[in-house]
């Protein structure tokens, strides 16, 4: 779960890049094989430095096994997102599907490995803090109660959403994806956004997860926090689209909603990361 969430944080901008879809669509099988092989190399070295396992001196065989896990996770996750974005459908030719998946899985798999590398230590430090310094944590948590925590959460969500979605909002990808989406797929996108946001903050085991569960405030419950912060991410997405003149108040509201929901996925991924960083 942590790997998938880390991959999503790193890989989501490229999942919304049409040039990558096009490159994937027109790639020769020999190049696909090369990209797949190349994907394995950085992931393998990251796994050697700090794999999925606790021991610091990961053996070659462990790193290979973990790299296979990371690549497969990347392939499954990017396929799911490409299906949600309607870039992979039942009528998409096999060569196009494989090309898109192979190219998109590369940054995603690196994200999986990087998530382990950078966030595992922080998580352990957070866990230690929780065990050894209960009174300190309790005092710190008590100080951040009520309105202050709520405002901090909303602020962090907005900053994180802007950080990730700002470079997607002005692009043509959003109107292009909106043209291919239907109400059913938009509902699926909303569900996926909520699920990804919840998993990143409360299930992935990143740094500060324990602190977030102890946090007080109006958004105390994980499900409430996920839902409210998703709405905040949607507002941030709407503002970014408006800023880049991709949201016209005179346009039909259904079209605007499509654009906002589609940008809502990267925005809420960024928002979740932002809340973890506070």
């Amino acid at each position: 779960m942590r790997g998938a969430s880390g991959g999503m944080l790193i890989g989501i901008p490229l999942l919304y890049t049409m040039e990558v879809w096009w490159i994937g669509s027109s790639t020769a099988p020999s190049r696909m094989a090369a990209v797949l092989l190349f994907s394995f190399v950085p992931v393998f070295f990251l796994m050697r430095v700090s794999g999925f396992r606790q021991s610091k001196d990961a053996r070659v065989v462990d790193a290979v096994v973990d790299s296979v896990d990371a690549l497969a996770l990347g392939i499954v996750c990017v396929t799911a997102v490409l299906i949600l974005l309607r870039e992979v459908t039942l009528t998409t030719p096999l060569a196009e599907v494989v090309g898109k998946v192979v190219y998109e899985a590369l940054p995603f798999a690196i994200g999986v490995a990087l998530a382990r590398h950078f966030l595992q230590r922080s998580r352990n430090a957070g866990d230690d803090e929780g065990e050894d310094g209960d009174s300190t944590t309790a005092e710190a948590t008590a100080a951040r109660t009520g309105l202050h925590s709520t405002i901090a959460d909303i602020g962090a969500t907005v900053i994180g959403a802007v950080f990730v979605a700002f470079n997607i909002a002005p692009t043509d990808e959003i109107p292009m994806l909106a043209a291919a989406s239907s109400p059913t797929w938009l509902l699926a996108m909303v569900a996926a956004s909520l699920l990804v946001s919840y998993c990143i903050v409360f299930e992935a085991g990143f740094a500060s997860q324990a602190k977030r569960r102890q946090q007080r405030g109006v958004l105390q419950r994980p499900l409430t926090e996920t839902a409210v912060c998703y709405l905040v991410s949607l507002l941030a997405a709407a503002f970014m689209l408006w800023l880049f003149q991709n949201l016209d108040l005179g346009s039909p509201w259904t079209m605007s909603l499509q654009h906002i929901v589609l940008l809502g996925l990267p925005a809420c991924v960024g928002g979740a990361a932002g809340r973890l960083a506070t």
């Binding site: 669509s25 001196d57 896990d69 009528t91 096999l94 196009e96 494989v98």
Partner: protein, 138 residues
């Protein structure tokens, strides 16, 4: 000192993989094998055929005294075609011929896209010719 050494030893001790981890690895290997198999099967298919096109009329509907003709364009080759220019010419009795054009950004090998042309005359009462005029080879 010895306590710290024991902790270090405990940290560096390798924990054998659990059954769940092996199951995960087996599933991951299967996913990777499917992708590698797909790449190999595409590779084994030999050199790709250049783009070739097939067109067919899907539907005609009347909207505000105009006729919208939906046409499916399929790339029957293997290579991707870029900037595919599609034109449609409608010739009806006692009417000057009407022409309409469309561009498809990308059409992968085996992919089908639908485009719409708009005419002021009912295409069912005339002869409609749809042609792919040009494309950029990738």
């Amino acid at each position: 000192m010895s306590g710290g050494g024991r902790t270090e030893a405990a940290r560096s001790r390798r924990v054998p993989r659990s059954r769940a981890e092996w199951v995960t690895f087996a599933v991951a290997s299967s996913v990777l094998a499917v992708v590698i198999g797909a790449v190999v099967s595409l590779w084994a298919g030999g050199p790709p055929d250049p783009p070739a096109f097939e067109t067919r009329t899907v539907s005609v509907r009347e909207v505000a005294a105009q006729f919208h003709v939906r046409v499916a364009v399929k790339n029957t080759g293997d290579e991707t075609a870029q900037s595919v220019q599609v034109s449609a010419e409608l010739t009806a009795e006692s009417e000057p011929p009407q022409e309409a054009e469309q561009t498809i950004d990308f059409l992968s090998g085996g992919e089908e896209e639908e485009v719409e042309f708009i005419f002021t005359t009912d295409p069912r009462k005339g002869a409609l010719a749809v042609l792919v005029r040009s494309f950029t080879a990738r």
